[in-house]
Symmetry: C2
Subunit: 449 residues, 2 copies
């Protein structure tokens, strides 16, 4: 993408209304714009990040055997009356009347609707296990929306729902999502720790939150240091095999949020040198809740013995519009965002230090074309701004690698690569730059591990 | 995808509520499910088609220079008061009050919001031309939703908005979208004819509808036969060059819907042998409307002479959730849907005639794996159903090519390929099947033309 033809409204001043660093940076870097309280547009650069996050989530859901569909944003109130949640949900549910005065609502979650789909079509235990998911906009009418898209009213959510014949199978479904979530957050470039969680208003028997560690996180977390270094299940993990050992390994070490922590247990179970007391942001939540929805909504299948069985369910959420600011909270510096390669809006930016200079233009154009041919997702700053402004924009928007091209270097046949994360700069021959960048970027895409 | 692990609820009976063939087939083939009046879930197979349609639309928008972002589904009423449409829009607008009694609405279109984004950030003529688009759910509270997703209340829409300094530049922007739409519908595998249209409630000076020809279309259309054979602008069309000749060529021949047709002109302009009187479905609509929104909403830029200029705008819509049934109306037979390769949920299906037979299973598995390695989007019917049921499902869901594998053929080292569209069958050696399929499918993807 040529910056001169792009729409990237960066702000030099720090927006006053933003309380946390990710919100400030998302506004400054032109990722989002507030349209109304708790409702945001994703501007082009932010939209690219959001779609990369969404794609990784989908790939790992698919890999685990979950199947994608798409339910509408609005729902009929009748379904929620069946589960009893229409009255129970409170003011966070946005209630709507259509032109015929029918009660509808903007879905805050989809347990009822997916259970309705399931009971319509699935009649036999032979069609189980089944895990259906979608990525759709939700609305929760928060009394105090804040922190940008970290806690917005309209937000994007990946929600998966598993259906199984009994508790033992349902726990296996839960394990598949547990492992898929470990892989998902790894690929998103963040350290996320599963922590035993309260089941809250969704209810149920078993629940883990996935917490991204970030110094500026919203809540305190307590865990064993070895969790931070634990290897992630590999790309060839057999989701049809026994995943219990992986889950047991991850849950054997102490990890709890401040709501759940028992400091006595933390100190008893974790040697002092291994105690991590940090801050974190919840980005995923998985639940097993048995027959809480299937029983009132009569979602049953015929079992192997010919008898009707009420299915066991779980639900599994990740909010992409929350993941984006969480990644920023975990990865930024004074100059701006530092995107992990796997979700960066562009993997590299060609900075033409002197647009208008024939040599600099020609070399920049050529390198930009070669990067594209090498499969690198590249931005080309071909604007007429000065070098300082170009550097500060590139730093602010967090592109992992800057390829710096200018008349002086070109005279000796050289360009520079700046690593956004470390600040390291390397000078190398023009002809070597694209291959060097490809070599740096490829492994960090994390799409083969 | 293995069908045994997929969620594909096909219906053998014909749903009574569906009046038109696409609606019947979308229900029978397990593409969609009605959740409430005019509100549909896209089941896994339908979701795949919808996403392929969406991707093609996005690719051609991007190619033309339009830039993607994403605006929220809900909007503040205040914006619509600025343009005067909040009161004018009538009952099709779904009006909502949040917990603080603020007036909101579910966006039926986004002229106001995009104009608001534009006026916030764009201040100079140097940042023009600009075309911003998004693909987002919309809601229009139709008094009589019907025909499945052809006329649903919640629907997906790609809407693009162009901003230019003056009418001449705005017409160039209009031409870019005109050409992008020709390419988009071509790649979607349908014949779509641009026809001069009434500008309707969006208002404006210049407008074309794009009409897919289908015998079962909703309205009569009249056009010159040569329009059906006219070559589509190529993939390397220079969108920064002069597109007026292409548009002039397409608009020089008579074409009009029944609302706009002047039969006298039709007969005067088109020789009798070239008169096409057919039926069609509107799937795209483009408008140039000058300063209709920019003037009341004060979207101005500083011109080259330092004076404030109100920008000229256009808007450009395609509804993917309407395109899917329109494609089916244009492409089906007694047995079911016939997908164009470019939007088929799967490009080929391996039909194992005798699941459980060791040879048939082994050969099917191998071919399925090889198809995937060859980059073919393949479904594998590994279920325990009989051959007849497998054929009828494959025909119903419209997969372009069936690769039929059974014990009898394997004894002589052979498999069969059935072409869904023509019914043609060819017998060939097992070892030649994958390459043959790849050769059939690749050109029909239309992603290189």
């Amino acid at each position: 993408m040529r910056l001169s033809r792009y729409f990237l409204p960066v702000l030099r001043e720090v927006p006053k209304e933003a309380e946390i660093v990710s919100h400030r940076l998302m506004l400054r870097a032109g990722l989002i714009r507030q349209q109304a309280s708790g409702m945001y547009s994703w501007l082009p650069l932010g939209y690219r990040v959001l779609m990369k996050v969404k794609a990784i989530i989908e790939q790992e859901q698919d890999r685990s055997g979950a199947i994608e569909l798409l339910m509408p944003t609005l729902q009929s109130a009748d379904l929620w009356r069946e589960s009893g949640r229409y009255d129970a949900y409170g003011k966070e549910m946005l209630r709507i009347k259509d032109r015929n005065e029918r009660d509808m609502l903007y879905g805050p979650t989809n347990e009822e609707m997916i259970t309705d789909i399931f009971r319509t079509y699935v009649k036999s235990y032979k069609d189980l296990p089944l895990n259906l998911y979608h990525v759709q906009w939700k609305f929760r009418d928060e009394i105090r929306p804040r922190f940008g898209t970290m806690r917005s009213r309209e937000f994007l959510m990946k929600d998966a729902y598993s259906f199984d014949l009994d508790e033992a199978s349902a726990v296996k479904a839960y394990h598949r999502m547990f492992v898929a979530y470990l892989r998902t957050f790894y690929r998103l470039g963040v350290t996320a720790i599963p922590m035993r969680a309260d089941t809250g208003p969704i209810g149920g028997d078993l629940s883990h939150e996935f917490i991204i560690l970030a110094d500026t996180g919203e809540s305190a977390v307590f865990c064993h240091a070895d969790l931070l270094e634990k290897p992630i299940p590999a790309i060839d993990t057999d989701y049809r095999g026994d995943l219990a050992p992986i889950v047991a390994d991850w849950t054997s070490l102490y990890a709890a949020t401040e709501e759940m922590v028992d400091m006595g247990a933390f100190e008893a179970e974790v040697p002092e040198a291994k105690r991590v007391s940090a801050r974190g942001i919840e980005v995923g939540h998985i639940f097993y809740f048995g027959t809480k929805y299937s029983a009132p909504m009569k979602a049953t299948v015929t079992g192997p013995d010919g008898k009707e069985v009420t299915v066991h369910m779980g639900s599994y959420g990740i909010g992409p519009t929350r993941v984006v600011p969480a990644i920023i909270e975990a990865s930024h510096d004074e100059a701006g965002i530092i995107w992990p390669v796997s979700v960066a809006p562009f993997e590299a930016v060609v900075i033409n230090l002197k647009s208008g200079d024939a040599d600099s233009d020609a070399a920049s154009e050529k390198l930009y074309g070669e990067l594209q041919n090498a499969g690198v997702d590249a931005l080309y700053d071909d604007t007429e701004q000065g070098a300082g402004a170009k550097f500060s924009t590139a730093d602010l928007i967090g592109i992992p690698y800057q390829l710096i091209v200018g008349p002086r270097g070109l005279k000796s046949g050289e360009v520079e690569i700046k690593h956004r994360k470390t600040g390291e700069r390397e000078t190398l021959p023009v002809a070597a730059a694209v291959e060097r960048l490809r070599g740096l970027i490829e492994p960090q895409r994390r799409n083969k591990v």
